[in-house]
């Protein structure tokens, strides 16, 4: 008994020493004359959202390497990025820990990522608690935090602009045969909020949403869910967001039941449609910047080839995630150069507002900080595929 008690105290003391010692070691790494700008990225490289998360993490890694090869100059100093990536494993619960750790543990002033809507509030809270931390994310719920005086940026246009005013008109125009659709969304806040705004948008473009179904996000078999849609009542299905795997399962269930062969998606890549190309009629998906399946320019083609080679990926399985993420890192470096500082986040944020960058694709913010990057609608149809781009203003 005595030995146990002593061991307890001993273990705690030893643990304490280790903790302090290691802490001392890694906290003072910002030595040296040059500046190193710490960026933390948080994506889901495992779990349901991994299809996009892996591309997000890789493209930022590639951007950092490319920029560091040349360096960038801020207030006369040669600067490089130092990137630390965390896996939030498709679980928003991890975001709080990941973000806090990147901010207080790693010392990052810039956070990028968060590939699920629920992950954004904890990310922003962590940034605000410490202060002087910028957060950038492509995710829908980031829109709630974009303010002219806050260093938070959404890396794509708001859903209102890109989906309601851009994507839905483009898709309904490209697929005139689809007049009645059923809408399948996750049974969560984001799903319900998005459904409420998409229904009138479809109506304005002459498409009736006959049914909204909110399904258990933990479902894997959608036969019973799809079974809710009366046969012959729709000529297309709209699939909400979040996860190629779930979209694929919904499509399989609908095809099995012989409901429809037309699918309109949002927040899903081209892959579920391409993999079922011989079984479906039409498939539409929302694109940021460009899509690897239908590269419009040589810049996009070259990027995809280089990216796939660098990370040993099948180019046919790359999503539309890498292009913009890659470009935003360069844009961030430019904003630092313009602001003349790397650690005054508010100044860097001010420099980002109104900035635009012509990289692999085009990315831009208006003076209020709202995202105005062009978007695209990918369409797969029996006659082949294409990406229709549309500007955002």
């Amino acid at each position: 008994m005595r030995s146990t008690r002593l061991a307890a105290v001993g273990a705690t003391l030893a643990g304490a020493l280790v903790l302090t010692a290691c802490g001392g070691g890694s906290s003072g790494s910002a030595a040296g004359g040059d500046c190193r700008v710490k960026i933390g990225s948080v994506f889901s490289t495992t779990g349901a959202a991994a299809a996009f998360g892996i591309d997000g993490q890789n493209s930022i890694d590639m951007a950092v390497k490319d920029i560091n090869a040349k360096g960038f100059t801020v207030a006369g100093k040669q600067c490089t990025f130092e990137l630390k990536s965390a896996d939030m494993a498709s679980n928003p619960d991890n975001m709080a820990r990941n973000a806090q750790d990147l901010i207080t543990g790693f010392g990052a002033h810039y956070l990028i990522g968060g590939d699920m809507s629920p992950a954004i509030p904890p990310m922003v809270t962590a940034a605000e608690r410490t202060g002087n931390v910028m957060a950038l994310s492509v995710t829908t719920s980031m829109q709630n935090y974009v303010k002219p005086d806050k260093p938070f940026f959404k890396l794509s246009a708001s859903d209102d602009k890109m989906v309601n005013n851009g994507y839905i008109p483009a898709v309904t125009k490209a697929l005139p045969g689809i007049k009645r659709i059923a809408m399948l969304m996750n049974n969560d806040d984001t799903g319900r909020a998005l459904a409420d705004s998409y229904v009138p948008a479809f109506a304005q473009n002459g498409v009736e949403v006959t049914q909204k179904i909110f399904f258990d996000p933990a479902s894997t078999d959608f036969a019973a869910v799809v079974n809710q849609i009366p046969r012959g009542s729709v000529d297309g299905i709209f699939i909400g967001y979040n996860g190629d795997g779930r979209a694929a399962a919904i499509m399989d269930a609908a095809l099995d039941a012989g409901l429809t062969k037309n699918f309109i998606t949002r927040g899903i890549s081209a892959l579920p449609g391409q993999q079922r190309a011989d079984k479906i009629d039409n498939y539409a998906w929302l694109v940021l910047g460009a899509d690897p399946a239908f590269p419009g320019t040589d810049k996009v083609k070259d990027f995809i080839a280089r990216y796939a080679a660098e990370y040993k990926l099948d180019p046919a399985k790359v999503t539309w995630f890498p292009f913009t993420h890659y470009d935003y890192i360069t844009m961030l470096a430019q904003a630092m150069e313009k602001a003349g500082t790397t650690d005054d986040v508010d100044k860097v944020a001010a420099a980002l507002r109104g900035a635009s960058y012509d990289g692999v694709v085009q990315v831009s913010f208006d003076p209020s900080g709202a995202n105005t990057s062009p978007m695209g609608a990918g369409i797969l149809s029996p006659t082949g595929g294409k990406v229709v781009t549309f500007g955002i203003s």
Partner: protein, 345 residues
Amino acid sequence: MNVRGTSMRSKRTRQWGGVLVVGVVLFVLAAFVPENRVLLLNAFLAYGALVVGLDLLVGDLRMMPAGHAAFFGAGGYATVLLYQKAGLPLPVAGALAVLIVAALAALIGLPAVGRSSGFSFAIITFAFGELLIQLIANVPGFFGGSSGLTIDWGVGSDMPFDFSVYRYFSLWLVGVLVVVMLVVVAVRNSHLGLRMKAVRADENGTRGLGFNPTTYKAIAFVLASMLAGLVGVFWAPMNGFISPDTLGVNQSILLLGMLIIGGVGRITGALVGVVLLVTLPAMFDVDPVLRTVLVGLLLAIVALLQPAGIVGGLAKLWTRLRRPKTPPPADGPVDAALEPAGAGR
């Protein structure tokens, strides 16, 4: 022998003393650890408190709840809801939250603990956790749904001593861990602890002595759940976010894993398990998937080769090493009882 004879009281003193020493060390650590290690310390403190509390069920009663994290999460949710939606001050919200957790634990515990098969207990507690998750996920308005709840506590307000929010909560979490350890030590040294030990050894035997084993299991269950809820009370505002996943079965399994790898039945075992499974992987930045692979493998191997856990194994080794010096007194037949073997007290 005579050491044991006089040891009851001094053993207790040592245990209380040990807890206090550990508490003081951790308190100093919490105040002075570098900023980039504060979160690591917080994770150690919170998981430490959870696992030490869980040991009241596993170590003392051999009950395996597969839903312990549900009470941790429930404590967190209740605090956040009472603080943010009802506008109560954080301490009041926390105190009420612990009571709510106790009520929940009693509600689910009373029907569950009486079941003789450990299987049913594990599964019922697990199912309860999943039901709570479903409840939360399907009431987005009040509970925040599957998106979780964000607590902006500490945004834009200054903490005492110029601490960061995280370090401020480190101090509270040290307090929580100390409270949990004190409760566990107090229970183990009390007559209640004696009764629990007896229930673990032989349920029917305790019935024969006039004790209802179900009562003691229920007491331990409610107590351990309250301690888990208490950790949640401080963890949720520290973390700034809580979602249904906090309550999930994966979390519960991880807690059991830490306890078993470290060693059940002793506080040191629980803490060593937390260091091995939470602190070290975070310090060495192990890829989470690889970490899970290793943790799983370690758990399986330890469970198989050393069911007493790492600390339990070391303790056994220690006694074996010491034994040759003082061979155990040969316990002759009844002579030992009727004719005193030792030299007396």
